[in-house]
Each structure stands twice: as C-alpha cells, then as structure tokens.
C-alpha cells in the first residue's frame, strides 16, 4: 500500500515531459515561432455589403471608417455585420462538418460547430460501446477572442480558448472544407456570369462554376454582393481529395449561405460570483477586515544563473535566498541586493543541461538540507547537508531507496529533518529508517506534532493527511477516514498561527470534485479521534496549487496558472491576486518563500521580490 502512496502533481507530470524542451528553449532564449504565414484579418473591418461603419471595440469617440481594401471576398464576408452564415462540407461518406454563425453589429460572433466522430476500427478490448463523444460545440467570439461554454467550468467566460479566432475562421473558409482553396486552383474561364439573384436578402451577382482540375470537374455557383461572397455551392469530386484514391467515387459538397439578419448583441455572460477567475484581480471579501488588501506588485526582479522549475526548492535564511534548480545547482542570493553570492554544485556535472532536479531545501538553523536527483529526473536520490555560512557541502545521504517521487518535500521539526519514511538528526546526522508514515509535504505545528500530507494515486489523487508525534512517530493518526479524491494532488500544507491550512479535494456532487482550502486547529493532539471537522473550508481559486505558505500578512498560494493568491489567514477569504506570468510563454511560476520583509517568487530564470513591509 505504501508503495502506491505516491502522488505526483499533475503540473509536474505534464511539464516533466516538456522539461528537456524547456531547458533548451530557456537556455538558448529561443522560442518556437508560430511560423504560420497566415494573414490576420483586421478586427472590426467593415463589409461593404452592409455599408456599416462599426466602432472599434472599446471606442467611445467618433465612428471610424475601416477599409476592406486587400481583403478577398471571403474575408469581406467575415467583415460584414448583422448577418447569419452557414458553412457546410458534406463529405463523400455522408458525414458533414459545419459552422453556423451569426455576426452582430459590432463584429462579435456566436458560432455552433459540428464535426463527426467516428469510432476507430481498433477499439480497445472491454471498451464500452455506449460511450458517445459530443459532435457539437459552441463558441462566442468577442473582440476576436473565442470563448467556449463549459459546464465543468462556470468561469469559462473569463478564459479564451483561442486568441484570434477570426483568423482561424478565415483559414477554415480558405481550406479544403471551405470554398477558398478550390476556387484558387480553378483554371481561367471557370466562372461565367449568370445574372442577378436575391439571396439571403442580398441583391447578388451570380456566377456559375465549371472548371477542370487534373481531369476532374469542379462545378457550382457563386453569389457576390459588393465584392463579398455571400453564397457558394461547390461540388468537388472525391478523386481530388486523396491522391492515393484516384478512382474514388462521390463528391464533397461545400455550401456557404449568408443572410442579412437582426442579430442580438453577442456578449459573454457575467461570471458567477466568486468565479471571476484570475482576470478579476483583487477581490476583497467579507471577513477580511483584519487584513485589508493592498495592491500586490513585483518590487524587484533578479536574473538567475540557472533555470528552475515547478516546485524546486526555495528558502530564506538570514540575509539570503536559496534557490534550487533543475540542473543540480543551488544558487544563493543576497536578500538585500539580489546579487548572486554563490552557486553550489551538488553533483558532478551540475550546472549543465542534464536534469538534476533540486526537489526541496530546508533550513534547520545551521544547515541547509537539499533533496535532489541525479539518477532519475522524477525521483530524489540524494540528500545533502550544506553549511549555511560557507555553502560547503558537509555530507550526503543515499536516498535512492527512499519512497518519494516528484512532489517529495522535506520536513523540519526541532532537531530533526523528515524525509519520506526517514528521520535524520540535525546534530548527529543519524538516520532512522522507516519510522514515519510517508507523505509529500510537511508542516510542524509547534506543539509536538508533524502534519504530513500526501496522495495515493489511482485515477484521481486520493489525499491523505497524517499527524505524527514528533518525538514518537509510532503515534500517528489519519486526519480523516472518509474517501476523498480529486484533482489537488500536490497537497501543500502550512502552519499560520493557530491554524494548519491544507489544500483539499472535496466532492462537489455529480461525481465531480472541487479544490478547497481547509484549516484545522494547529494542534495534532486534537486530531487523534476518528472524525475531525475543519474549522474553515473555502473554495480554492486554483485546483493544482504549487505552494502554500503563510505569515501574519496572509496565506499565500502559488498557482500553476501563474497567479499568486493572498488569503486572510483566519477566514481564508481571498484578498488579492497577482498575475506573474501574463502573456509571457517563456516563463512560469516555480515556488514561493517568505522572510521578514518580502515574499520571494521563483520563476523559470528569475527571482521576484514582492515587498510586504
């Protein structure tokens, strides 16, 4: 059972896979460029057909006349206002994919997309054939950004799923399931005027299509109004769709039908209370009066000589900040100036591009303890003792047989370091093996009890919380006996005053879970009974937090989404949030630590100071 009790933070799992790429990218300051030679469609461009002159989003001044010069007839269609359109591609096998859309008077769109789902021929054994995947989806495009309703995420309207969806839509119209590509390859003389017709409320010029491409006839009709393609019908022989099947029968029928319409304004619904998401910024909450929120901001940024990653160790000692990295280095910075004082190599070859992850750092008042890996990237194998004053490595322990994986941290209680099942005496360095229950995260309550949080994993994370007598580990108790599972795998835990705060996944009905912050009275002796009611249970704004620390200023959570959250340490009310990553895809949040004056945030290649006092 103990062997199974290994939880790994989902962020770590995902990012570990990408870690070599990130290392190279960051080391070389190289980012993959989009490389897509697409032509962005000007936002707010006005289709000539409707003769409208919409105001750009957010404009309050005079009307701005935009131009459609340089746009082709399909782009002009997307630039129209107050229309409905339907693009359908009926495939030779009878399936179809389609986009139904409406564009309001400001250019915002509401789209319904349909794409078929076909079962693959090699379904897994025991697979339930009743499983059906959805074929319909819906998007709101506001200011060019696409938002998708999600019944699992009530705050879906706060996070776009695509940044510039008009370009995506334009690409669809110009791709093989739209008319653009096929019209592009027609030979000269394929279009013949066929008079005028009124279609969809447009007085349109009609053209017939009849062209031969590689021996195959493409036929159909086009309708234009004011140089915009408002209707299309094209028949593409199946033999053109795949060069390996020149004898294929049937056709792809592409239809595009636009019509003038009174389209109600396309707006995003208001996020439910309390789910405003990270973009909502500081959210003062009732109950937070003892700690009135202040605006959080980064005071200083210090470049780091080595790269760090999710959860790498970060601690402060008097006047210093200690940074764990992904390549076996521990960088020590002056807390006053941010200058790098020392870089300590833990292993031979540390400092290069070989992964040697520093999982955690802990200070016992004299030594800095570092848990690190040199053999496998996802499992610590060596525990180091470093003299805090000189930075000299005093000794090391082989931890390769110790339980623990990506989320493994160290604990400290007076006179002891806790690592996996082991106790290490901080004075004699004697190790007592297999004496304590396993866990990832530790917090000492100051009353003789160590609190240990962890997970055992099946398909979700199944959190466990134990309290252990810090002088007699044979006395240990589970904090609850009910089954709990969910997403919060990392289970960070921290002590603030008289409260022990822990991240928890709790049932939210309909077989779903939500992530919450629970606070218990910080006295392990009160946790020896079978049932334990938390003092406080509040929802967490992030379901996979990286770190949780606290002081009298607040309970601080570093989220995997790049946000720092500040909560009231008594009530758990959200006081503040700060986006530390923003649009910068070249960095991420790794860990946080506190000293007497500042909150320190470890990023991929820099250390941030948030001045608190």
């Amino acid at each position: 059972m103990e062997k199974q009790m290994n939880g790994i933070h989902p962020h770590f799992r995902r990012w570990l896979i990408l870690l070599p790429v990130v290392l190279v990218m960051l080391a070389c300051s190289f980012l993959l460029g989009p490389g897509a030679p697409t032509t962005p469609l000007p936002q707010g461009s006005t289709g000539e057909a409707t003769q409208t002159t919409p105001l750009p989003q957010g404009s309050t001044g005079e009307a701005t006349q935009t131009t459609s010069a340089g746009l082709d007839p399909l782009e002009r269609l997307l630039g129209m206002r107050s229309i409905q359109f339907n693009l359908t591609a009926l495939q030779p096998d009878g399936t179809s994919r389609s986009v139904q859309g409406e564009i309001d008077s400001t250019g915002n769109m509401h789209l319904k997309l349909h794409s078929p789902v076909s079962l693959p021929p090699d379904l897994p054994e025991k697979f339930s054939p009743t499983l059906k995947l959805p074929e319909e989806s819906e998007l709101y495009v506001v200011d060019g950004k696409a938002y998708q309703p999600d019944d699992q995420n009530p705050a879906w309207m706060t996070s776009p799923v695509a940044e510039d969806y008009v370009v995506v839509l334009s690409n669809l119209l110009h791709g093989p399931n739209g008319p653009g590509l096929w019209l592009d390859i027609l030979p000269a003389g394929s279009l013949q005027s066929a008079g005028r017709e009124t279609v969809g409320g447009f007085a349109a010029d009609k053209y017939t299509v009849n062209g031969t491409v590689h021996g195959q006839k493409i036929t159909g009709s086009l309708w234009y109004e004011s140089h915009a393609l408002v209707q299309v019908e094209l028949h593409i022989p199946a033999a053109l769709l795949d060069p390996t099947k020149p004898a294929a029968q049937g056709e792809r029928k592409i239809t595009l039908e636009a019509q003038k319409a009174s389209v109600p304004p396309v707006i995003l619904p208001t996020p439910p209370a309390g789910t405003g998401g990270p973009t909502a910024g500081p959210q003062p909450t009732p109950g937070a009066a003892n700690n009135p929120p202040t605006t959080l901001s980064v005071s200083d940024r210090y470049p780091l000589p080595h790269i760090s990653f999710f959860g790498n160790g970060l601690i402060t000692t008097p006047g210093k900040v200690w940074v764990g990295t992904v390549n076996g280095m521990v960088d020590v910075l002056d807390a006053q100036s941010g200058q790098v004082l020392q870089s300590i190599a833990l292993f031979d070859g540390s400092g290069g591009l070989t992964q040697q992850r520093v999982f955690d750092l802990k200070f016992d008042g004299q030594h800095v303890w570092a848990l690190a890996a040199s053999k496998k990237e996802d499992k610590p194998d060596t525990l180091f003792v470093i003299d805090e004053a000189s930075g000299t490595v005093l000794r090391q322990f082989d931890a390769s047989e110790w339980e623990g994986e990506l989320d493994q941290k160290l604990g400290f209680s007076p006179g002891r370091i806790w690592a996996s099942h082991q106790w290490i005496d901080t004075r004699t360095f004697e190790v007592q093996y297999d004496v304590v229950p396993w866990g990832d995260s530790y917090a000492y309550d100051g009353k003789g009890w160590m609190w240990i949080a962890g997970n055992w994993y099946v398909s979700d994370c199944n959190p466990v919380l134990s309290v252990v007598n810090a002088d007699d580990p044979s006395q240990h108790y589970a904090a609850w006996s009910t089954d709990l599972n969910g997403d919060a795998c990392a289970m960070p835990i921290t002590l603030i005053g008289d409260r022990m705060w822990v991240v928890m996944s709790v049932p939210a009905g309909n077989r779903t879970y939500s992530t919450a912050l629970w606070a218990y009275p910080a006295d392990g002796s009160k946790m020896t009974k079978e049932t334990h009611e938390p003092l406080v249970m509040v929802p967490s704004p992030d379901d996979q937090p990286i770190a949780l620390i606290g002081d009298q200023d607040g309970l601080w959570m570093l989220a995997g989404n790049g946000y720092l959250y500040q909560f009231d340490p008594q009530t758990g009310a959200l006081l503040n949030s700060l986006d530390l990553v923003g649009a910068n895809k070249n960095t991420f949040t790794a860990n946080i630590a506190l000293d007497d004056h500042d909150l320190w945030v470890l990023m991929a290649k820099e250390l941030l100071r948030i001045h608190l006092k």
Binding site: Q4, R13, I17, L32, G33, G35, A36, P37, T38, D72, P73, L113, S115, V117, L119, P120, D122, L123, P124, K126, F127, S128, L131, K132, L133, P134, S137, L139, A146, Q148, V161, A162, Y165, N171, L172, H174, G175, P176, N177, L183, D184, I185, L186, P187, A188, S190, L191, D205, H214, G215, L229, A239, L241, P243, P246, V458, S459, D483, N485, D487
Partner: protein, 234 residues
C-alpha cells in the same frame, strides 16, 4: 542499352499510370519544374502513450486533418513548401484499468497545425524536402466518460491521454515530404515523421508514436492561367 532500360522503366511507369483513373505520371523521371503549386495535404497520425500506475493506462490518439499546401519551385535545386493551416480533429477511445477499476474514456479535441518553412528546403531534383508543423493548441477539448466501477472513475482525460497529447502536439517535425507522382501540372506525394517513430522514457511508462502515411498534392499555378484570381476580382 542504358537508354533502352530507361525507356522500359519509363514505359512501365507510364503504362502503370494510365491504368489508374487519376494521376498519370507522364514525366515521373523529371524534376519538378519552376513554378507555384497549390494543393491540399491530408494528415492522419496516431500517438500512443502507456503508463503503469498500479494498473494499465494507455491511450492511442488519432489526429486527423486536412489543410492547404503551397509549394514554390524557384530553380533547379530550390523550392519552398508551406503548409499554412491544418485544422485537426483529435480522437481517443480508451479502456483504462487502473488498479482493478474499469473505465471507458473518450476524448475529442479540435485544434490546428501551422506549417513553417525555414528558407529553401524543397529540392526539385531529389523531389523531397522537409518542414515543421507547429501545433497551435486545442481550440476545445470535449471529454466524456462512461461506466467506471470500483470508485476510481474520472471525468477527465487519463494521464496517458494527456501524455499522448502533450508529447505529440508541441511540434511535429521535421516531416519529410516526397513527391511520388508527377504530371505536367499536377504533383502528388506523401510525408512521414521519422523523428517520432520509436519510443522514449516518460514517467512510469513508455510511449510510442505510430505514424500513418500522409498524402499531399499540388497543382501548378500556371495551369490556371490567372484562373485562381478570377473569384477574387468579382
């Protein structure tokens, strides 16, 4: 003798081509001629991930898409190929048995690849070139779950599915494109992604990417005699 052999080979190719009702490689020995070509590209690949977490967790994910391809041949040894956009549907139907629990988990996602080209990378004489496809991200991910017993069900993607997507999606490249048939104005070919094949270490398991053959074709722009511009000028 050499010319006779060449004639025989060419004759075989031409005759074989005539037997088909589509692409006829009348000039299969020729190098590609300078010009601008436009066409489509079909992508159908699989990515696979497997994990052991006290039970099996595996995913075989299909990526199916169709996009535009633009090829420019500028000289004897020079050409560029650009794939501007491939919208992709991503499917997986997986059975998961984690520690004795049962699951049938499906995912459906939609995203797109963009193609990049770093200079002159298509050799008309070799009739081959390389380029990268870059994943633009999932527009949407729809996840459903079905019957799962034993209390370890999950309404979300399995770890193996996440790994398969994360491993697969960031960059597909380099892909190697080859021309397999040439007509006067029409060429067709295929591409593969050799860099992906095989396996590699992931936490608690292994993965492999198995790749289907992917196809493309392109039509020489000059065959249109300005036809491709007609619809834009109305």
């Amino acid at each position: 003798m050499r010319s006779i052999l060449r004639f025989l080979v060419l004759g075989t190719v031409v005759f074989g081509g005539l037997l088909t009702n589509g692409i006829q490689p009348a000039h299969a020995d020729d190098e590609l001629q300078a010009g601008i070509y436009k066409g489509i590209i079909n992508l159908a690949i699989h990515s696979r991930a497997h994990q052991e977490w006290g039970g099996g967790d595996s995913a075989t994910i299909s990526w199916i898409g169709e996009g535009n391809v633009d090829l420019t041949i500028t000289g004897e040894k020079y050409g560029t190929m650009t794939i501007s956009f491939i919208p992709v549907d991503v499917f997986d139907f997986g059975y998961i048995n984690l520690g004795g629990c049962d699951a049938s988990v499906g995912i459906k996602a939609r995203g797109s690849f963009s193609g990049g080209t770093a200079g002159l990378n298509f050799d008309p004489k070799q009739k081959a070139g390389t380029l990268y496809l870059i994943w633009n991200g999932l527009d949407s991910v729809d996840i459903v779950w079905d019957t799962v017993q034993g209390g370890c069900w999950s309404k979300k993607m399995s770890e193996a599915q996440l790994i398969a997507i994360n491993e697969t999606s960031p960059t597909i490249g380099p892909i190697t494109l080859t021309v397999t048939k040439i007509d006067d104005e029409f060429i067709s070919g295929e591409f593969r992604l050799p860099g992906w094949e095989g396996g590699g270490p992931i936490p608690h398991g292994s993965y492999a990417h198995i790749i289907d053959s992917c196809t493309w074709w392109a039509l020489k722009d000059s065959a249109q005699e300005e036809g491709g511009k007609e619809w834009k000028n109305k």
